[in-house]
């Protein structure tokens, strides 16, 4: 019960961010489906966003004077918007890839290998 009675801090958010980030990285690493890779990227960006928001929050740390403040939130906003843009382009690329190769397997996209 004492666990639930403690206030959460930046660290807790950071751990969630880390989990999401690492999930995303693993997702990128193991998914052969291009869309899966995309989702991994989304997870990674989201994990980063969690960190930004956590650092910006005025409630989560004892030395609040050093919080990022609104900058963190602004940056996370930009990240969100850029992620949307990135997703649009990535999807377009995937579609193109699919049109050309009839597959979305990223392992098949190795025409530039050494």
């Amino acid at each position: 019960m004492s666990f639930f009675s403690q206030p959460v801090g930046v660290s807790h958010f950071l751990v969630v961010g880390a989990v999401l980030f690492v999930s995303g990285v693993v997702c990128m690493a193991v998914k052969r489906n291009a869309l899966g890779v995309l989702m991994g990227i989304e997870l990674v960006l989201n994990g980063a966003n969690v960190n930004f928001v956590a650092f910006s929050s005025p409630f989560l740390r004892s030395d609040n004077a050093y919080a990022l403040g609104l900058d963190g939130q602004l940056i996370s906003l930009f990240v969100i918007v850029l992620a949307a843009a990135e997703a649009a382009v990535a999807l377009a690329i995937t579609l193109n890839f699919y049109n050309n190769h009839s597959t979305v397997d990223v392992d098949r996209a190795d025409e530039l290998k050494g």
């Binding site: 609040n64 004077a65 919080a67 403040g69």
Partner: protein, 414 residues
């Protein structure tokens, strides 16, 4: 309400009870609302087509028909195709339903009567309403039927496209009021009906019609109901559904119709404020006692619900009047007409507010206003978001004020 209850109950129980009551009240809208609107739709369509509509079931106007319908649906066999993705198939209707229900959370039904007042209410409602499409897509995919998939794909394309002009339209009232809090937007339109935003300037007047078109499309109603085009796609995304799951989709649809109508009412038609400030004239305001305030708010609620029902009825009227568009025409309406018009209206409203006296505030002036506002009216800044989680009783007013003032200075020091 919850802090008040917490004086008598354990804190968590108080919050839980209040939350439950609010949820139940809100659930009435999709449940009862859906049944009522089905009945309305039948009657209206019948009148439009020079018929009588349901007359047999239940005495006057066949009003028991809606109960009979509901009963029939609940007792129907719950079918599931063999090849369906079972989890998603089961989940999909509830995703849609939850989305449409959650949108109602941030909708103020009267002055301050909102389940969860949000600083960014407009935004929240739009965001959550957009999630409804997930259920549709999942249903379409999980049904393992090409009709369903076609319907879902159409719906996805349509909803995503229409979100652009819809967002642009919604921004216009937000621009004029400078607020995203639905309660505050409603409060600003108090008084005579000329205070309603739709009469603010010619641009927002046009914006309303664009908004309504886009809203109709985004809740997937005729003439934009491509996702369930019976003549081509059997029943679209819910071809394979029956019974209560099908009912969930139905309730989601009517719930979101109600939600977008409510949003329209607040953003353009004064929300809970009547055309004449009757409640103010009669003194039915909180200043004259809690009961008077409560009663005034109740009148407001009736007002608001009337406006929503009018909006939904209007949609029904449209459905039975206009033929269905082709999918390419749907996209054309969105991308070639609605979006440019909305953009131009946005520009026009911006210029109007800038040039007409009392218009738009420049960022720097806004900043000053913000600082003054936060110094003078700190209580207004209290975000209800934390109400749920806040234990303990409500502190004394004086304490709150001083605390807020210190908050301001504390921020300044940073």
């Amino acid at each position: 309400m919850a802090p008040y209850l917490a004086n008598y109950l354990p804190q968590w129980l108080a919050y839980l009870a209040v939350g439950l009551v609010q949820c139940v009240l809100l659930l009435l809208i999709p449940f009862v609302g859906a049944m009522f609107f089905v009945w309305v739709e039948r009657k209206v369509s019948a009148r439009i087509q020079d018929r009588l509509g349901p007359t047999r079931c239940g005495g006057k106007f066949g009003w028991l028909q809606l109960l009979a319908d509901g009963l029939k649906l609940i007792t129907k066999e719950d079918l599931r195709p063999k090849d369906a993705d079972s989890v998603l198939f089961l989940l999909a209707p509830y995703v849609s339903f939850c989305a449409s229900f959650t949108a109602l959370l941030a909708l103020p039904f009267s002055n301050g009567w909102v389940a969860q007042g949000l600083d960014v209410g407009v935004f929240f409602v739009l965001a959550v309403l957009a999630l409804e499409v997930f259920g549709v897509i999942l249903a379409g995919y999980a049904s393992a039927s090409k009709w369903s998939l076609f319907g879902a794909m159409r719906e996805a394309a349509q909803v995503v496209s229409y979100e652009v002009p819809l967002g642009l339209c919604v921004v216009v009232p937000v621009l004029i009021t400078g607020e995203m809090d639905l309660v505050k937007i409603g409060q600003m339109q108090q008084g005579l009906f000329t205070n309603w935003l739709i009469f603010h300037d010619p641009f927002i007047f046009i914006t309303f019609w664009v908004y309504f078109t886009c809203a109709t499309a985004s809740v997937n109603r005729a003439p934009f109901d491509l996702a369930e085009a019976e003549s081509e796609l059997v029943a679209g995304f819910h071809t394979e559904y029956s019974g209560f799951r099908w009912l969930a989709f139905y309730m989601a649809e009517y719930g979101s119709m109600f939600a977008v109508s409510g949003l329209a009412a607040i953003l353009f038609f004064g929300g809970w404020n009547g055309p004449l400030p009757v409640t103010q004239l009669l003194g039915l305001t909180p200043e004259h006692g809690a009961l008077a305030g409560w009663f005034g708010n109740f009148l407001g609620l009736l007002n608001f619900v009337f406006k929503c029902v009018a909006g939904v009825t209007f949609m029904i009227w449209v459905r039975w009047t206009l033929p269905r568009l082709r999918i390419d025409q749907v996209m054309q309406v969105c991308l070639k007409y609605c979006t440019p018009i909305a953009a131009v209206m946005f520009l026009g409203a911006t210029l109007w507010t800038y040039f007409v006296p009392g218009g738009l505030v420049l960022p720097s002036m806004y900043a000053e206003r913000y600082v003054q506002f936060s110094a003078v009216e700190p209580a207004a800044q209290a975000s209800p978001a934390t109400n749920v989680a806040r234990p303990g009783g409500e502190p004394a007013d004086g304490h709150r004020l001083s605390a807020a003032t210190r908050l301001d200075s504390g921020q300044g020091a940073r």
